[in-house]
Subunit: 398 residues, 2 copies
Amino acid sequence: MSIDINNYLSDNAKNMRRSAIRDLLSVANKPEIISFGGGFPNQDTFPVEDLKQIMNDLLTEEPHKVLQYGSTEGSVLLRQQLAKKYQADGLDVTEKNIVITTASQQAIDLIARILINPGDTILCGLPSYLGALQAFYSYQANPVGIPKDEHAEVVVKTLCALGKKPKFIYAIPDYQNPTGVTMTMEQRLEIVEVAKKYDLIILEDSPYKEIRFDGESLPTIYSMCPERVILLGTLSKTFAPGLRLGWVLGSEQVIEKIIVAKQSADLCTPILNQELAGRYIASGKFDENLKKTIALYRGKRDLMLECLDKYMPEGVTWTKPDGGLFMLVTLPEGYDARDLFDLAIKENVAFIIGEVFFCDGGGQNTLRLNFSYVSDEKMVEGVKRLATATKKLMGIEE
Amino acid sequence: MSIDINNYLSDNAKNMRRSAIRDLLSVANKPEIISFGGGFPNQDTFPVEDLKQIMNDLLTEEPHKVLQYGSTEGSVLLRQQLAKKYQADGLDVTEKNIVITTASQQAIDLIARILINPGDTILCGLPSYLGALQAFYSYQANPVGIPKDEHAEVVVKTLCALGKKPKFIYAIPDYQNPTGVTMTMEQRLEIVEVAKKYDLIILEDSPYKEIRFDGESLPTIYSMCPERVILLGTLSKTFAPGLRLGWVLGSEQVIEKIIVAKQSADLCTPILNQELAGRYIASGKFDENLKKTIALYRGKRDLMLECLDKYMPEGVTWTKPDGGLFMLVTLPEGYDARDLFDLAIKENVAFIIGEVFFCDGGGQNTLRLNFSYVSDEKMVEGVKRLATATKKLMGIEE
């Protein structure tokens, strides 16, 4: 008979929340179900043949380097390649401003670890990325969301008056997860002003920025205020999530703190994976492949919007993302996406209920759809099924 | 002008300690220096050609699986292969008792995270593995060491009387880092008795167990008391540290808690790396290769002992490990390994000062030597140089 581990848990552990996405997806884990649930990139974007070649080169030319321990800050080659991209965007940074992490989930975790004390307030979007909220909860923080049409300053002012000044602002400015919405230039400027006025750090999470379908890319918040922004990037959406490669861009002082935290968290990220990515970016093929990914996802976004338009009943609305992997569907007031989920599973289609992204417990009538993963054929069929379930929910005859 | 991040740090961050090993090794990072410092496996043990083949097979047969997100608990194949090894040792476990981690450093970190509250006492060896101490400090724990010739129960009793009952016991029973010493059967039984009597968890860290040179392997503490032991394993010393693959073996309840913690820590360990290791172990080549590794390291241990005997001055002593990668050298009372380090660097040889492994601030006259990494030729020359530095320290004419 084993001891009950619940009697030994830390306060951090008691505050941890199991991923609702994981639980929802486990229900949806049947081959007949078409899933818009996960945030998976499309497998057709993986540059398999190029990776095979580079991996073979690496294991032929530098096996003793790539199979050995690497440094905590990460591969010089990869950090230089990433720095070059930022330099091309006009940022005054070098590889010394970058630490490689075991994908950007670890970057969020390490920053939470070095900044959050139990009870700290973190300002975030309403809704916001569940994985970040989970990390914040696991350090006993209280995430507070900025309501959709509210100004960040109003919320910060109120929090300060209550003695709950935020420790930092967590923002995903480009094609946010879960809404797909992009912050306007005015909103970016405003958040920088608020950060300066109230002496706040901004954590800018930027996993999708390079996947833009239409129009011009807006500048990073980092570029507007490098002195108080920590920027996170990842190769999970533009390259291959199976490699687990992300990074933090920040002042050398911030990077040094993250290196110390990472030493005890996992010592280093696999050097084999880092050198693979470094060589791939250096070859110029990363940029070529990214263009194909963008074209593929643009087509999928268009198809999903078209299908939603065609099949969804009156009263249901959705966001129209300029990039990224997600859109948010809103049911008419009063309907609950949990009820829709049950009906949808019966129709063999799955999604993520939106409320898991709302730290205030709201968003009951919303659902997140991913459009990057499924084939075009399945997407059409999946939206049809979702529309059928939605009509059943709303009592509309087909 | 960037903000000063020190003004925003969490209490956890303030308690973090930069790795002394990292700092010591940065001094030793010159080609002319022979380093006994790091805990690197020998590069000749990396099965490069086999890995190249398996990697090519993986990227040919299952590219979409190994480049995509994996599950948080890890590859079924790898977990099954690891479970099979434990089953062969007579343990009643399945893959459900295993979660894969980003090497065992992450396993230590996640267990610290789910168990430690600030101020908690952790019982450990004196000395003990620095990376574990770092992880404990980063959650604001107070590690307390069991003195060399003291019984664990005496220490636990004293701590309980002081209201500082340990949260868990951290032990490395086989060829411990940094001493290379192995716990006897009596010591294992004693620690289990203490854990039962005082209702403690035991964290059994077992990175070197398979690398035994002489005699019979002693049973794991886990096998003696599976209900209150959490066992950690890694492929970093027996396969390739560059892949970052470790694991936790425990009750399904413990594994579930670690999975939730890992979700927000890094979501999952690279599935590519896991499948590579899983296939390699399944092929039977892992066990073949391990035999060669053991033979290689046995020879290196013998050579280091022989050289120490031959060159070191009277009064200096050292451990004689039955396995693993390390031995601990003790200088006569009153001499400081920091002074020896400065002299050794002048002679172009490096090691890790022992005191970084002593959580009580002791061990000033000790140093850790690694015998797995350098070539035989360099080992002879390195020990000669170390002996020269030691004689200088002790004022002995060559």
